[in-house]
Symmetry: C2
Subunit: 359 residues, 2 copies
């Protein structure tokens, strides 16, 4: 019940342990196609270039930055937690001049802030936000910001690491040009791959670069030949992780996106109600709280590290610590994918009740 | 029996499917320590910074280049196959001025060639070679080239993707400063991680950089805080792949490096003898042929693509195609890790006999 990895279904473990075959084997190539089709359904996109990067979510972030940024490009990045902060660092390493749009940790990035930044940087290469800030539990609405990007002739980049599979993520309807996610959050697959999708517009930007992409490993112009029709050998894909992702995506689609989102929402509401009975609350911005990651305020005077340790050792429940300015002030309770079940919420609340001396 | 992924032991599959726990969980941290200790034993090094990169072998190559190269640095790279060619591309993307030392595919890089290159580029940042060229089956002896690097004040970088676990790789004795490998070759683990090791000298070069490492994901200065004593969160490690690597390394060390190398050598010799009976031979440079990857010359007039297809569909045996100038002229027969067993050699030879009409 931490900020990920989340619980994994037995069928996904079984898939993970299937015999390893070659990365150019016709059977594996067939499976790659199915992974692409299922990822498109989960991302709600028709983007042909939708596939998993052979690295974790942070590699997906670097994939988007490295392919879209050329040295000297201006970009606007919303920063309201660890992952926005990280994206600034990644983008700068790719040679970007970054304009930060900051919000207090736990709050969302407001469209008005982006509009203001655009008065200073009217033609950025892209505008990026973190959809679901795993470090704070805030869910920034992307639609209006995507519209501002489009009007400015900029690409719109979305970090969907923690949102994908747990709440609506609609790449085409929202006008997202580049998105990356991770397997170990609401897709409930072990960590190791980063599903990404680029719009034809973003792909064109990557194809028309004046300079080579600084990362060979993440160069979309090479990767698209391996994941596309040509099947040109690039690197050896993590075969078994792809089996697991295939099975996890199958589970998501069999359940249905709407039903899955409702399950996450209901678990969040059950948690919130139980916390209220204990006099606790979720501290991220009201009206914009994530279902899948709950920033629970720790009462003054309570040692949160001791609380987390007791939950882990005595009750077998992992929760996350606060980070940055929220360190010591919150615990992060994940309700992602398979973890988002009423029985887990109940078990957590019962354990918390004991730890707080309410039992 | 292709160029990797190789066969995987049942115990490694079982480890892969163990329950996913958190990347900062004390149990996982304990396992990370054991992975580091076992990797040091397999690399035959005392380098503290020895750990698996969360990507495949190509990410390990990029890790070495990105951390050691600053824009404008001169490097010397031996090119005698696909992976030397790739390293030139990766190094150039990191901003290096690359001096290529070319040998025909299938041949080794000779120390005299490196010596000649040093007359033109007397103070390179590093000299790099591919120890075992998976694309050609040639094993370049590294000791003399390492000595030349040391004398020139350069670092020595070794691609040990296909050599590690299948033939001697002695990082400390040879004076290797940076080495990367892959899990899916002679370690017989599924693909997805890249074991690396940096000498204190290489680490110092990375720490004293004037510029930030261009890749955030692969920045050793950040990674060493996660894999070191501080355990600072960097990215979510591929938990289950680390379980698998842990179990695969345990298997290597229980067998013993010497016994494992002998097993690879004996299988190679059995293959070579069987091929000779069929009038076939291994075409890479005599005296420098890899045990674990055998470049078998295809008789003129034989359709090698049809041969590979028949081996796969009729006999369930995967072998690799030739690449670049060797395309159509060789098949690549892998005898790596668990695949290097006499029964596999016999089964392959029997199938080949049928395919060639000798049966």
């Amino acid at each position: 019940m931490g900020p990920g990895p989340s619980l994994v279904a037995p069928s996904v473990y079984a898939a993970l342990a299937r015999p390893t075959i070659g990365h150019l084997d016709p059977e594996f190539v067939r499976m790659m196609e199915e992974v692409k089709v299922m990822l498109r359904a989960v991302f709600q996109t028709t983007n042909p270039l939708t596939f998993p990067i052979s690295g974790t979510g942070s590699a997906g972030m670097e994939f988007c930055c490295a392919n879209l940024i050329e040295p000297g490009d201006e970009v606007i990045i919303g920063v309201n937690g660890v992952f926005g902060t990280r994206m600034v660092d990644v983008a700068e390493r790719c040679g970007a001049k970054v304009t930060r749009v900051d919000a207090p940790w736990g709050q969302i990035i407001e469209p008005a802030q982006i509009r203001e930044a655009l008065t200073r940087v009217p033609r950025p290469k892209f505008i990026a936000i973190v959809h679901a800030e795993t470090s704070t539990g805030a869910l920034t609405p992307p639609v209006e910001i995507a519209r501002l990007a489009r009007e400015a002739g900029a690409l719109f980049v979305l970090d969907a690491v923690t949102s994908l599979g747990g709440c609506p993520v609609e790449i085409d309807a929202w006008g997202v040009d580049a998105v990356y996610s991770g397997t170990q959050k609401c897709l409930s697959c072990p960590p190791g791959l980063s599903p990404v999708s680029l719009s034809p517009r973003a792909l064109e930007v990557a194809a028309r670069r004046q300079t080579k992409v600084q990362s060979w490993y993440l160069d979309v112009n090479l990767l698209s030949s391996y994941w596309g029709q040509e099947r040109v050998y690039h690197h050896t894909a993590p075969i078994n992780m792809n089996y697991a992702l295939h099975e996890a995506l199958r589970g998501v689609l069999i359940e249905g996106l709407e039903a899955r989102f409702r399950r996450h929402e209901q678990c969040h509401q059950a948690l919130r109600a139980g916390l209220a009975e204990l006099g606790l609350e979720i501290v991220s911005q009201a009206g914009h709280q994530l279902w899948q990651l709950n920033a629970v305020g720790v009462p003054a005077g309570l040692d949160e590290a001791a609380l987390r340790k007791r939950l882990l050792t005595e009750f077998g429940i992992e929760v996350g610590a606060g980070l940055g300015p929220l360190k010591g002030r919150i615990i992060r309770v994940g309700l992602m994918g398979e973890t988002a079940r009423p029985e887990h919420v109940a078990r957590f609340l019962a354990a918390l009740r004991v730890c707080l001396g309410h039992a």
